[in-house]
């Protein structure tokens, strides 16, 4: 019964968020509806687009400060969607200051609503399933966005706006009937003393997301304008490779090494920029370039969305974690866009612009593997520490004693080991034992040598493996 309830709640949360996200993608966040409306009225889009992105960034970043419980998250979700609906109404009328105000309100409140959904992703989707829930919302929202884009481009922008608002209305309905209070077991387990240590992995993930997304921003500014003459095709095909990539990754077996897929994405994104330089601007050229670049975006997006989803377990404030991760994405789009705009504004020939863009892409992609490695290490460390932290004091002592070392630890080394296992940094350990940080590092090195491991992660994982084998 509980499983059935949880499943329904999960489906409701996915449906609610997918409709909300479809609205955001098609309208305030560089959506085709917004572009078409501004184009219809002969208004320069760049100021409006930038204002909406900055407001969306602010909403994502500040939601965690306001929303601290699941009930507050639901209220924020409903209120945010309500404000967005109201703020979209002026776009049915002649352009005025209300357009800019409405767009800023849309950007801000949609950002808040997205961040608040973090609570429901954590509550209704079990830990190992979050990659599927994230893939589902991205797939459904992009499918809906394609439908709205086709209507906005081929029929009427106002009709497209109406359709996107209808999506938001449906999302509001699903969010309204979504239950409160259910918490999956994994979520309960992980709320531990060690949760304070999520800061470093989260910041590293934000850097990772930011670097990945710079390429998307560049793509919007450098590649997309060159295929404006194929608006009929771009309106529906644009996100298709993205959806296909999401579908493939979603259905990969859990054991698959997803880090390796990152390399596939990197090759695809570089291939896209090289193809863009070498090929022409025909339909088949567009299909090649778009398939490579959007496929890579799908790979990268699901990669970091799923890591962000897993990270929700290590914090009590899901809106803060989710909002921070997504705000890094928005910041990346913004910086990539500005970079692309400044490169194109110089008036260089298309080939040179593409070379500059490709250089930026290569530089950013080179940074991904070491960042990914660090992120995996930090997350593993955190997971192990959280599991250790959930044991009682006697269990912890037994665990440490039962494992044979090459040589017995000294009393001082035992003190340092206990503090390492409680998740403390070298600086904290040095302060606690009133010794220097260099001394702590030397003791730690000796401890690792006695356990025949090379770092903290290996040490903690071998301790826990021993516990599981028992």
């Amino acid at each position: 019964m509980d499983i059935a309830k949880s499943f329904n709640a999960r489906r409701l949360s996915i449906a609610g968020f997918s409709f909300l996200f479809a609205y955001i993608l098609s309208f305030p966040f560089e959506g085709q509806v917004l572009y078409s409306l501004l184009d219809l009225r002969g208004i320069d889009a760049s100021t409006y687009i930038m204002a909406a992105i900055i407001a969306h960034f602010a909403g994502l970043l500040t939601c965690g400060l306001i929303v601290r419980t699941q009930a507050a998250a639901k209220n924020m979700l409903l209120a945010g969607m309500g404000f967005c609906l109201a703020a979209a109404v002026p776009f049915f009328f002649a352009p005025s200051a209300a357009w800019m105000a409405g767009l800023i309100a849309n950007g801000y409140f949609s950002g808040c609503a997205v961040a608040a959904w973090g609570y429901f992703l954590k509550a209704f989707t079990p830990k190992n399933e979050r990659i599927k829930s994230c893939a589902d919302v991205l797939i459904y929202s992009n499918l809906l966005m394609i439908a709205i884009n086709v209507v906005a481009v081929n029929r009427s922008p106002l009709f497209g706006l109406g359709l996107s608002m209808f999506c938001l209305l449906i999302g509001t309905f699903f969010s309204y009937i979504m239950p409160l209070g259910h918490q999956n077991n994994q979520g309960k387990v992980a709320e531990s003393k060690a949760s304070g240590g999520i800061r470093n992995p989260l910041l590293l993930l934000c850097l990772f997301v930011f670097i990945i997304t710079i390429n998307s921003g560049l793509m919007y500014q450098v590649i997309n304008p060159n295929f404006d003459h194929l608006s009929g095709l771009t309106s529906w095909y644009w996100a298709v490779p993205y959806i296909v990539a999401l579908l493939i990754i979603r259905n990969l077996p859990l054991k698959t090494n997803r880090s390796r897929i990152l390399y596939v994405g990197m090759v695809m994104i570089m291939g896209a920029f090289i193809s863009f330089m070498l090929l022409g601007r025909s339909i088949s050229d567009y299909i090649i370039v778009d398939t490579l670049i959007l496929g890579a975006c799908g790979i990268f997006d699901l990669f970091w969305w799923s890591i962000l989803g897993e990270m929700l377990d290590y914090s009590n404030n899901s809106a803060k974690v989710f909002g921070l991760g997504l705000s890094a994405n928005v910041l990346g789009v913004l910086c990539g866009g500005l970079l692309g705009m400044s490169v194109t504004a110089i008036g260089l020939p298309g080939a040179q612009v593409a070379v500059i863009a490709l250089t930026v892409v290569c530089v950013t992609l080179v940074m991904l593997p070491p960042l990914n490695r660090q992120l995996v290490l930090l997350l593993k460390n955190h997971t192990y520490l959280a599991a250790y932290d959930n044991m009682s004091q006697s269990q912890q002592t037994d665990l440490v004693r039962q494992i044979k070392t090459i040589e017995p630890l000294t009393a001082r080394e035992q003190q340092v080991l206990q503090l390492i296992l409680s998740g403390k940094s070298n600086r904290d350990i040095a302060d606690a034992l009133t010794i220097s940080e260099t001394t702590v590092k030397t003791h730690a090195r000796n401890i690792f040598s006695k356990y025949d491991v090379s770092n903290r992660v290996e040490l903690i994982s071998s301790l826990l493996k021993h516990q599981i084998e028992k």
């Binding site: 017995p408 000294t410 090195r445």
Partner: protein
């Protein structure tokens, strides 16, 4: 330790001066002289790195001192005996005698280890080494109170895991 620090600083300034000299010679189009000066800079940099490592070890030993004495006899396995006076520091990670360092407990299970400690009425005997070489140290510990001896033995056990044998107290 001050001597080690002074030497490190000297090498730093020599390296800096030598690099500046190399750059200046290079700009005056004397390639052979620039090459020689560059080689000299490299040598100074290597000395600087070595001395910096020595200073790090000395600082680590100084920060974790257990006992300070003023006289010691050092004997190596082949019966060479050396006498040292001046301040001698015994610590968790080795011994500092003036600018000379004897390390232990710094390189995990495969490095040099403190193996045994004996304390009698006047002397402290330390045995340390690795699989290839063992050294023995005889110190005048200067402790006159039993509780001071016990306290030192307790510190040694806590920090190094070696239980000191106490006799004559």
């Amino acid at each position: 330790m001050e001597l080690i620090r002074r030497q490190r600083n000297s090498y730093f300034f020599l390296s800096l001066a030598s690099i500046c000299l190399t750059v200046w010679i290079a700009t005056t189009s004397l390639p052979k002289a620039a090459l020689a000066s560059g080689a000299m800079s490299l040598a100074f940099i290597l000395f600087l790195v070595r001395q910096s490592r020595l200073l790090n070890d000395a600082t680590l030993i100084w920060d974790n001192r257990i006992l300070a004495v003023s006289s010691a006899h050092i004997s190596i396995a082949d019966n060479q005996v050396e006498k040292s006076t001046g301040q001698i520091v015994i610590s968790t990670f080795g011994m500092l005698i003036g600018s000379k360092i004897y390390r232990w407990g710094l390189d995990g299970v495969h490095g040099t280890r403190l193996n045994a400690v004996e304390i009698d009425k006047e002397h402290m005997y330390l045995t340390f080494g690795d699989a290839d070489q063992t050294m023995k140290m005889e110190l005048l510990h200067g402790m006159t109170q039993r509780h001071a001896v016990l306290e030192t033995a307790q510190k040694l056990w806590h920090e190094t895991g070696v239980t000191a044998g106490i006799s004559g107290w």
